[in-house]
Structure formats: structure tokens, C-alpha cells
Symmetry: D3
Subunit: 151 residues, 6 copies
């Protein structure tokens, strides 16, 4: 069945996604000529979408407990909210670009998944995607499988 | 060329997508402590996006007849609109969560594709994605290849 | 210059507005042939915007304490959330249409303003507007001066 | 005709509006316990809508030259973009709240209107409204007649 | 209490609004140097919002029959949809700008209101507003009282 | 570990995405009965999103220079803006459908990537996606790996 063998390379496997949204308001500056005036201290509102993906629904018919997912997102954003990220030790010597922060929030959610905070079924999640909307004309995201982290 | 051989595993194959939007207003309740107050009879507006994916355009330069696609989506949503889903035999003993309904609408569109309602070219579609927006801060989706269903 | 004398009647006086957003998911049904299939038990997600208007800013440079405003909106929406409005005594013999609910939420916010829950400066608000978005293609609102209620 | 005499008090006069959108990314902090954690240095993306209102269209069928209006908005936002507003002399001893900044941008547009930068027809504008969206769940605006400023 | 006497001049009277949305895709060109490259034949998608305003709800708890309102909007947009407006006799020698079209659609809705197509209660409407979104960064609207047309 | 071996077929590899938005207003007509009234000369506003994807961030912490990316998108849209696409030699004998134009804009961006206009790091991009929103209820996109074009 060569057509079957090739198909998964091209097309999405069956997948459910649930997404929750929050936001955070921070200050920061960037290092590097590339950034032009954004080298100055400025700020951003990031509207943050977190997508949780799973191949099959749990017995209750859900991907994940959306209440807990929202609590976890809120808690992670609270760690960053109303801060100057230039002063955060966790981001020392880093440009906290929109794409970098997408990954940083991804990693913090993955850690809380591993510690069980999202409840039963969270170990069945196959991947996450975190998207940060920085304005009505620009956004960035980071997505990855959760498989390697667990194996 | 090992890099060529590996690349398709990581990156999207060439793909066109067309998406149409509709909406539906329903009542339902959920079974299970997980749902907290959503165990009570309540309701939702779902804004529904259906994405049709195809590797190459047809002779007219389209993925699918968007007029027919919209008609099919409207017809499927009409089956659910202004109803209490707790009373629908098709959903007996099911929590009609946002993710469950994404799949249910996916299946109904796939059935109409198979029966020819979307016209010529519909057999060239490789996959579908159905997304239900339940509010400005949460959505769920289901996506899958159409290949297995047809083989 | 009679046109100058009349102008203030036609054009907006100087006015600041602050708006906060929440949402609520409810079930209900409507009485009357006008409503067609919406006479059946169904439901809606309402994305709710509340606008607070004031002619001059307070000493802190704000229209109102936006934190308290959000708390008050959340508390009011919690009274309705995940409920079948057909069973609510407060709405007995009423069609809980989008426009009716805009007014009902307006009244509940005005009551909490009067009881001091929104803090200092709330007595300087001149008017409110409450908008309920029921889908991506329809919304309703109610707006009114707060002046008469206080005199 | 008492109904005519009263009507202007309640209903809008005929009015055309044209709105253009831009955005700005800034840092700032607030003074006052009211602001809680927003007393810390943080930041925001403001998506800025400017509405130009006029009772009758000009000979070309427009409220204003939308190209010039966009240039003026861009120029004004450039004065603030990628800055720490705490360091701006123009805002010394001010909380640069969303509502305060709506007014500040209103005033800067009104000044450029008066200096003729928006071209012919700008003197026929009756009012402006400036709205700053600070997130997907909050915005503020300032609106006022342009009549008094010119008389 | 002169401030009380003046207040109604400045603040909104109690008012309900219901809004429905549709869209239309047209070609056109503009006459006049002001328009720069838009003097060439080009086109636009207009997402059209129509707001119906009324001081008190009817016996069913509605501003207007929203089903009929949507039908009327659809019918009016159908008159323009997929056309080159430069060839429309109704718009001869007119620049069909976004603001001009807002008024043209306003007038067509007002005519249908007068002919009774929106059903009982439509004669209680006090004003209409028509907004055309031409992109994610620009819109125009026209609003007016319905009173004079009827007296 | 067969589950490990299969996983990459089903799940996304780690991937960063940056997206910028622009828009274009064009006229065109379609050939073919399928299109019904869209066979007439009409037009559209396309709100255009371009996603740039890359497996790892560059030394500055970015996927791509977002300033240059926006310039390139603006330049490409300028080639089409305020035109009748029926008269464009590049599109002769083509239906310039939303999906076709998604591909055409994809190809023009890929060409500029190859010519170095997006600066250092652009050769590390793995894929692009171009999405054209034609209204609030329909969009189309084209996405593909950039690998083959470079090998």
C-alpha cells in the first residue's frame, strides 16, 4: 500500500484542538541594529492563544479540562504581567521577541503539564501551539510535539 | 538526498485551503463533575469555520465550489440550529462539547462530500478542518484526512 | 449664528469612554410566532461589552477603576452564566432577547454603581452602554444616561 | 412642532464618519494605589482608531482625504512609538492611561487639522473620536466636537 | 439645576440598538486627483453593518424582526453584489466612495421601512446607522434620524 | 519504540512562525458557469496574512526581520493594488480566485526571498503560508515548503 504509506507525510492525522485565550502587558527593549527604534525601551500587549492537541477525546468528551487550562494560562501570564522583561533573570541576555516569548510560554505550560496541574488526560496531549498577537497586523507562534519531552 | 527524504516529515506539503463560516445557536448540558456549573442546562453560539484542503486547484482555479460549500454548511447547521442537543437521538449519552461537535459536523460534511453534494472536484479534497468558536476566548477544532474514508 | 447655537444639540459633547468585555453562555426560548424556530429551547454565547462614560477624568487619569469594573461585570454575568433563563424568576413572562438582556445587564450595573461597588468617581459617570454580541453577524445594545436615576 | 423641537435632543443628526486605524507600542507606569501591579513599569500595544465626522460630503464624495488622514495618524503615532512614556516631557506628572492617551492623540490630530495638514474639507469636520484598544477585552476613547475650538 | 437641564443635550437618551451584518463585493473607480491610484478601476469587499435604533422595545421584547431585517439587508446588497458600480445608472456621475455607499444603503433601507417590508414596529424606529468596513484598517458610516422622512 | 517512529508522521515538528498582515483592493471577473454572478466584473478587498516558518530562531531571537518582511509584502501588494486583474498580463487566461491569488503572492514572496531581499536568516525559512481573507465569512490560503525551490 504505497499510497497509504505516503499519505501521512502529506496530510494531517486526525486531531482535536482546544484553544484558550489570555493576555499580558509588558515592557522590554531589544539588542541589535536589526530592531531599529525597538532597541529603545517600549512595550506590548500580547493576546495569547494556547492550543492543546490530542488524537482522541477522553471519556468526558474533552481534549482537556478547559477550566484548569485557563487557570494554568492565567497563572503563567501573571508571572510576566505588568513587568519590564529586561529585568527578569529568566530572560537575561535574551531578546524577548514575540517568537521567543511564544516559546517561553510553551515551555512553562509544558512544565505544568508534566507536573500534573492540568489533570487527567493531559498525558494524552500530543502537541501544543502558543500564539502571541502583538497587534492587529502581526503575530508569532511556537508549536512542538510533547512526545520527546516525555519519552 | 537524506535531507529531502526527511523534509516531508517536518514541513507542510503544498496545500490550498478554502474556508467558509456559519453559525448555530443551541442548548445543552454536560454530565461529569469536571464541568462544574456547565452541568446545568445552558447554551452556546458556535461560529463555525470549515476548511477544505486540496493539493492542486481544479481547472476553474478553485479548491471547491464555494457556493455549494456554503449551502452544505448551512444545511448541516440547520439540522442543529435552535435545538436542545440533550434531546437529539444522534447525541444520546454524549457530552456535546465544542470538540465533540467539531467532529460531528466534520462527519456530516464528509458524508455529503461522499454523496456528491459538493460537486466535481470534491473527490480531490485531501482533508477537512472544522473549528467551533464558542466565545472570544475559546475555540475547538477537529481535522482529519479524507483519504481513509474513501479507500 | 443660529447654526452655531444649534450645533451642541447635534454633536457629541466631550466624553471619555472606557469599555470592558466579558461573556456568558445561557439557554432560553422565545414566545411569539415572530421568532420562528427560536421558539424552541436553544441557547447563546453573549460576548458582553460595557461602556462607562464620563465627561472628565478623575485625579488618577481614569474614567473608572477598570479592575473593579471588570469584577462587577464578572459578578453580574456569573448570576446568569450556565443557566436556562426560562427558569429565572427575574425574567418570568419575558422574552430574554438580546436587546432585553442588554437592558437587564445595564440595570444590574447601574444598581451596583449606586451601591458604591465601583468606588470613587463612579458618581461622575454620565451614561452607560451595554452591548451583547450574539454571533459574528448580530448584536444588540442598550444605552442611557445615569442622570435621571440619581436626581 | 414640539416633536421636532425635542427630537434633536434624542436622536443623531445626519452624520458621515470615516475611520482609519494604526497602532503604537509603548512602555509606561502608573502612580496611585488604584493601579495595583500596573504601578510597575510595563507596556502596551494600542490599536488606534480615529473617526472623522462631517454632516455633508465634499464634492469628491468624501468626508476627508483618507490618504492624508492615514499619514497624519501615522506621524502622530510615530512621535510615541517605541518609547517609555514616563520619560516624555509632554506627559510629565501624568498617568498615561488609555483614556488619557485617547485625549492626547485627539488633541494632536485637532492641531494638525487646524494647521491645514488634512487638506480641503477638514474645516467642515464637526467632531472626532479617538479609540485605543489595549487588549481584546478593554478599550477607551475620547470624542468631542471641533466646533468650539474653532469659534 | 441648570446642569440637569443641559444634561439631555449632551448625553444619549435611552436607546436600544439591534445590528445585523452582511457583505458585498463590487468594482468601481473614482474621479479626482485626490484619489491617486484609486482613480483606476479596482474593487472592494464591504462588510456592512446596519443598526436599527428604537427607544422602547415592542411587546415581543424586540427592536425589530431580526429575520426580516436580515432579509431586507440581503436583498439590498444583492442589488449591488458582483457589479461594476461605474455602470450603475443610479450612481451616474458619483464617486461611489465608502461613505457615499453607506448613505446609499441607508436610503434603500429607509425606503423599505417606509413600504412596510420590515413589519410591525418598524415605524417606531428612531434612527438607522449603516457602516461599511472596507478593510481591517478603514471603515465609513452614515447615520440619521428617521423622523423627518416620516413627518 | 514504534510509537516514537510513527510520531513524527502525525505531529508537528518544532516550528516558529511569524505573520505580518497587509491588504489590497482589486477588480476582476471569473470565467465559468460555476461562478454564477461572479462572472461579472466585480471586486474584492483581500486582507493578506503571510506566515514565515523556521525551526530555530536566529541569533537576534527572530524568525525573520519583520520590518523587511512587511516592506516586501507591501511592495508585492502594491503591484496588484487598485488594479483590474483581468488586464494583468501575468494573469492572462486565469481565474484570479482567492486561492489562485494566495499562490501568486506566495510565489512572489518566495522569489524575493531567493533574491536576498529579506536579509540574513531568510535562507533558514522552511515554509511559507499566504492567507487571503475575502470577507468576514470566507478566506483561502496556500502553503508549501521552501525546500524544493532551493535544492
Amino acid at each position: 500500500m504505497p499510497s497509504f504509506a505516503l499519505r501521512p507525510l502529506k496530510e494531517p492525522a486526525p486531531m482535536y484542538t482546544v484553544c484558550v485565550r489570555g493576555h499580558v502587558m509588558i515592557a522590554h527593549s531589544f539588542q541589535g541594529e536589526l530592531f531599529g527604534p525597538a532597541q529603545r525601551l517600549h512595550g506590548a500587549t500580547y493576546v495569547v492563544d494556547v492550543e492543546f492537541r490530542r488524537a482522541e477525546l477522553g471519556p468526558e468528551g474533552v481534549v482537556i479540562d478547559i477550566g484548569r487550562a485557563t487557570q494554568v494560562l492565567t497563572a503563567i501570564l501573571e508571572e510576566l504581567n505588568f513587568k519590564n522583561l529586561d529585568d527578569e533573570p529568566a530572560f537575561a541576555n535574551q531578546n524577548t521577541t514575540t517568537e521567543f516569548l511564544s516559546r517561553a510560554i510553551f515551555d512553562r505550560i509544558a512544565m505544568r503539564l508534566d507536573s500534573g496541574e492540568l489533570g487527567p488526560g493531559a498525558d494524552r496531549l500530543s502537541s501544543l501551539r502558543v500564539t502571541l498577537h502583538e497587534s492587529h497586523v502581526a503575530w508569532a507562534s511556537y508549536e512542538a510535539s510533547l512526545g520527546l519531552a516525555r519519552s
